[in-house]
Each structure stands twice: as structure tokens, then as C-alpha cells.
């Protein structure tokens, strides 16, 4: 017990607290919170490049990656992030078909609560499913992608990649190109870039643009040449074949002709413009291989590296809150 007079030692520099219990989306975060997560991630990037990568910040904590959708890179990235912080990480791959047969998401939550975990990373094919789960479990929840809603760690890692390359986010012109309609990556990036003061464009054939997308604060283009004009960042989206419930585009050939990123279209962007892609890429569908592999311009490999750092930062702030018992 403290007596009233003993002053608590307060460090001179305190990182702004992350006062959220979960990370369900970018919507609702402040510029300061995003900046803090990116700063924290920056430190982990350097650390991850050393031989001694492992630390014990989260020793004794349990992290479960609960994936209702196939994923290799996001799951591996979270797994690596957890393990490098010293947490015990378990992967649960659940096929949604078996969930539909019997156990509901609520049943899953009850089961998980009995296991006393600290952080739950969830990916689910339905928008809002991660939020539903977060309301029923008593641990921190990280949205690893829900339907067409949000994929916050992807937006954070994209922001980190951009910030490390260009030194800023504010004022940049970012063109997000491709299947915006079905993309959670696009939505999270639109929110994050707007919050951080970038200018966001979306570029897609009209069948792949959500209704009223302009109300999210973006400029809308259906002509890629106009959309890429003088932009600083070209962010390609995966055309999600598996999500195409109908004929949104006539053919791969036609899509590539008008919306695939090649040098001809890229030449309209700023000469130094960076090329990004959340992966996995469909080469020759949304992006030309030469462009994707251009070591000068493409930061696609770096995005993967930033992913681990960003997820370490997110795990740390959620599993190890600087303010206890919020």
C-alpha cells in the first residue's frame, strides 16, 4: 500500500496510452494512437533484423490465432509476432463449414473463455463477426480481417511501409486500385490514410466500387490513367476471385488491359511512386510481374516485413496495457 505522500515515479516521456480493449478496426482510432502504434512498430523493425529477435515482454501470455478463413501470411505473421514477444501462440484453423453445421460463434467464445487466453486474433469471412466475438470473450481481440469490413493490421503495416520510405503520411496522394467493393484492406486503408491526412483515391471499374464510396472521403476514378496521375503511392488490391459472387468483370484479359498495373499506366504516377500490394498477388491479372518485382519501386516484400513488426506492436499494447484494468 502506498501512503499518500510517496509520489509515484512518472517517466518524463510516456507513450500515449492505447485505451482500447480490442483492435477491431481503424475507424475510431485517433491520429495519436496510430502514430504511437507506428512508432512502436518502428522499434521492432530494427529489432527483428538482429540475430537476437526474441524478447520476453509477453512471457506467460497466451495468444490464439483463430482463423475461419484460409490464410498463410497473416497467420504466420501474427504467430511470429507473438513468439518473438515471448507469448505462447496457438493456431486454430476452423473451416466455416463445420461451424455452420453445429457450433455457433457464441459457443466458440464460451469455449475460448474457459482457456484463459490473453489475446485472440480472429479472421472471419463475415463482416462484423469479429466484433460479435469480442462482445462475448473476456480477452483482447485483434481483427485479423472480417469479411469486407476491416483489416486494421494490414492498414497499419501499409502505413508503416509508406512512412519509413517517404517520412510522412500527411499530404501524400494514394491511389487504391482494384476490387474495392469486396476489400477490407481498402476500407481500413481509406480510414487510416484519411485519419493521417493523406489524400485517397480509389480506382476500379464501376462494378467493383461500393455504393456511396465517395462518402468515405475518397476521390473516385474509373479510368486508371486519371486515377494514377501524379500519385505518390499506388496501392494495388488483390482481385478476390473467391469473393466474386457474380460477373463483376468480363474477363481477366479485359481487367488487366484496363486496370492491371503495368509500366505504361505507372508512368503517369510520380516518378518515385511506390508500388504496394497486400498479397498474395495474381500476376498478370491485377499486376504485371515486371512491375511487381521492380526493386526500385515495389515495396511488396517490405510490407511483409513490416507486418510482423506492426503485429508485435499491436500485441504488446493489447496484451500488456500501460494502464491496468480499464
Amino acid at each position: 500500500m502506498h501512503d499518500g505522500r510517496s509520489a509515484r515515479i512518472v517517466p518524463a516521456m510516456v507513450a500515449p496510452a492505447f485505451l482500447h480493449r480490442h483492435l477491431l478496426g481503424i475507424q475510431g482510432l485517433t491520429p495519436a494512437e496510430i502514430g504511437m502504434l507506428l512508432d512502436l512498430s518502428d522499434g521492432y523493425v530494427d529489432r527483428n533484423r538482429r540475430n537476437d529477435k526474441k524478447q520476453s515482454t509477453l512471457r506467460g501470455r497466451t495468444v490464439i490465432n483463430l482463423f475461419f478463413e484460409n490464410s498463410t501470411r497473416t497467420r504466420t505473421s501474427f504467430e511470429l509476432a507473438g513468439k518473438r514477444l515471448g507469448a505462447d501462440v496457438i493456431n486454430m484453423q476452423v473451416s466455416t463449414s463445420s461451424v455452420n453445421k453445429g457450433e455457433t460463434l457464441i459457443d466458440t467464445a464460451v469455449t475460448l473463455n474457459a482457456m484463459h487466453l490473453d489475446v485472440l486474433v480472429v479472421r472471419h469471412p463475415d463482416s462484423g463477426a469479429v466484433q460479435l466475438l469480442s462482445e462475448k470473450v473476456n480477452c483482447a481481440v485483434i481483427n485479423g480481417g472480417d469479411g469486407s469490413h476491416e483489416h486494421p493490421t494490414q492498414a497499419l503495416l501499409d502505413a508503416l511501409t509508406i512512412r519509413r520510405r517517404t517520412g510522412r503520411l500527411s499530404g501524400l496522394v494514394v491511389a487504391i486500385c482494384g476490387d474495392v467493393l469486396h476489400s477490407r484492406v481498402a476500407r481500413s486503408n481509406i480510414h487510416l490514410l484519411n485519419i493521417m491526412g493523406a489524400r485517397v483515391r480509389v480506382v476500379a471499374p464501376k462494378t467493383l466500387l461500393p455504393t456511396d464510396v465517395d462518402k468515405l472521403g475518397v476521390e473516385v476514378f474509373s479510368d486508371m490513367k486519371k486515377g494514377l496521375k501524379d500519385c505518390d503511392i499506388v496501392m494495388m488490391l488483390r482481385v478476390q476471385n473467391e469473393r466474386m459472387s457474380g460477373n463483376f468483370i468480363p474477363s481477366i484479359r479485359e481487367y488487366f488491359h484496363f486496370f492491371g498495373l503495368d509500366y505504361a499506366k505507372l508512368s503517369l504516377a510520380q516518378p518515385e511512386a511506390l508500388i504496394m500490394h497486400p498479397g498474395p498477388m495474381n500476376r498478370g491479372f491485377e499486376i504485371d510481374s515486371d512491375v511487381a518485382d521492380d526493386v526500385e519501386r515495389s515495396v511488396i516484400r517490405e510490407q511483409v516485413e513490416m507486418g510482423v513488426a506492426v503485429r508485435m506492436a499491436v500485441l504488446e499494447v493489447l496484451a500488456h496495457p500501460s494502464v491496468e484494468a480499464i
Binding site: 460479435l132 477490407r184 461500393p210 455504393t211
Partner: protein
Amino acid sequence: MAQPRAGRVAYVNARLLDPASGLDVLGGVLTDGETIVHLGPDLVRAEGAGSGAQIVDCDGHCLAPGLVDMRMQLREPGDEHMETLKLAGQAAVAGGVTSMVCLPNTRPVIDDGAILEFVARRARQVGLAKVYAYGAATKGLKGEELAEMGMLAEAGALGFTDGTRAIADAQVMRRALSYASTFGLMIVQHPEDPSLAEGGMVNEGEMATRLGLSGIPTCAESIMLARDVRLAELTGGRYHAAHVSTAEGVEIIRRAKERGLAVTADTAPFYFALNELAVGNYRTFAKLSPPLRSEADRLAVVRGLAEGVIDAIASDHSPQDQDSKRRPFAQAAFGGVGLETLLAVTLGLYHGGHLPLLSALRLVTSAPASLLGLEAGRLKQGVAADLVLFDPDRGWMVNADRLVGKSRNSPFDGHPVQGHVRRTVVDGRTVFKAYDF
């Protein structure tokens, strides 16, 4: 709960409201057995009832004909775990509903007179609100072959519909309208183009885009309505559009009526009292079919009601159990319960200044009754004593956990409403009394 069947009961000291005749006076109603034998200002005091009558003092509250709910879903037979006929009856009388018409989407579906007779018999055994039914327009509600409409009509069907499914094929709709008119009955359509609505779950627009949910455009409704109005004109059949939810839909009905076509429409409380914002945070209780629309659409529906373009209000009562609703939004079932809140939410139109009290009441009493050809929803001598006594001003909070029945999926959960049912009478028997009466 039930009182002895025989005998005279005088409901005195009431504000009598009869939307059909425009009656709004202080007075009372005298019933004998199942029937209203007298009503008027002379019954404002107990002395007017003469001797031998049981006296019920109404404390000056409104005494009106019991509500006629022209569209609700029964879960018996087939899905009794969601709601039995008895629970539906209890929910109905708790909301002042004395007659209700169920959709044929029970299991098995009501595409055969025998199933209709089963439902009617079970409802009589339960003895709460009176239950009527629509027959299926097509066999198995599949939208392909016409159901036996004539036989269903003989068994008591009040009209024909494929329930929550649209009759999508234009040729089938044409023949259904044509054939139903042989028996003078209407086709009730769920006006939503299935190809435009496919996979959708909320109103298309900014809200859907933000939530990452697939939307249903408003033209899914207007395209189907416009087509159907043409077919009604072609066939001369009677067409009724269920739950009109969009501004464009209201306009199409308005134009059809101006041209003198036999086209009518209803809406549900959800569509004039709520808008798409209710689905924020993935609230599955607000996942409805058709989806909740924009505020502009909601206001157009209110105007449609005020101007008489929309003829009636139906509860669209659709019970779903917890397992069907406590799911990710995409997997959750459509529909909301509405029997218990029908009167209170409808009175919101009066409290909000959109409609006079009698006009609001007409939408849930005599208006649906006359669309259906039912002798109900009226206060007059010689008709069945189906009554509701309510306090139009008393406020309460809709609490889903305190609603009658097993299914609590009310989109109005947590909403304050005004208008409280005190007592419900069916065929002269008091079948519901407020807990504090």
C-alpha cells in the same frame, strides 16, 4: 384469465374510438356473450347499463376495436421452438391484436386446405386472438405452379401470397393475379426482385459500404412493384403490395391508385419508425426483409401513410430464436417480432403529429379488415366483441427480454414508445389485462 362466456358486460367510462365511423365520444360498450349489443354516450356511467351486467370501469381510457394484423408469421406448425400458436396468441393480445392473418410459410406450407384447417382448429383451441391465413399462391411457395387457390379459398384463405418470397416470374404472377380474381381474392406480393436482392442484407448505400455488408438497392422494390402494377392492369386482378419501404415504391403505388387500378399496399412499423442506422454495430435484430431504408425513404413512407397511399399497417411479426439471430450479420436470419409493439409504434404517428388518432387507428383496424373482407375492426352493434382498451399517452420502454414468448428479436428493443394496452377482449372474453390493471 378467461371469464365466463355468458352474461352481459358493460365497459363504462371510456373514450370510444371507432375509426370506421369516425366516432370519438365518451361512453361505453355493452356486450352480451360474444357480441356488442349496444354502445354510446349513455353508457358513460354504470347506471346506463341496466341491471345484471358486469361493470368494467375503463378509467377514461380509449376503447377501440381490437387490432387486425394483416400480416404476421406463425411458426406452428414446423418451428414451434421459435414460437407456438399459443405464444403468438399471447403476444397478439398483449399488443391489442384480436385478429391476425398469417403467411403460408409454415412447415408444411399452407398450400393445401387441410393445413389451413389445421391452423384454424389449433387457433380455436388456443382461443386468444383469431387466426386467419393466406393460402400459398404457388405450390410449395416455389413460384412455379399455381396452388389450389379455389380449394384454399373454400377452406378460408383470405388471399394468396408466397409469403416472404417474391413471385418472381412474370408469367406466374400474371396467372396468379388472373386466377385469384376468379375467387375475388387478392395476391399479396413481397415486392423485391430476387436477382437484385440476392446476397444482400442491408440497404445499399454508405452504411452498407462502411459495414462491409452487401446492400439491396431500393430499385429491387420499385422494379418489382412497377412490373406488378402493369400485370394487375393487364389481368384486372387485385394486387396488394406488402411492406412498402421505399420512396420510389410509395410513388408507384400512388400513381397506380391515381389511375384507378385495384392496387393496395401496406407497410410495417419498422419502415416508418426506423431507418438503416438501426443496423449499426451489426445489430442483427434490425436485419429485416426488406431491409431498413434511408431516412428519406422512412419519411416518404410516413407521408404515404398520412396521404392514404399506403392503406394499412401490418406487424410483419417474424419470430426468430436466439440461435438464428446471435450470429454474424451475414448468417443471421431476417425478421423481427412486432405483435406486442404494433399499437404503440403505430400511435407514434399520432404522437409525432403525422396523423390524427382515429386515422392512425384506422390503419390497424378497419382499413386492413376491409382489404381482407373481414367483418372486424369496427365498433358497432351486432359485431363480435373484439375490443382493445388502451392508454394512448402512457410511455414505456420496449424491453426484448420482457416480451411475451420465446423469440425476443424486436428491432425496437430499448426504444421508448407511447401507448399502453390495458385490456384486450376477444368475442366478449377478456383475454389480456395489463399487470397493473
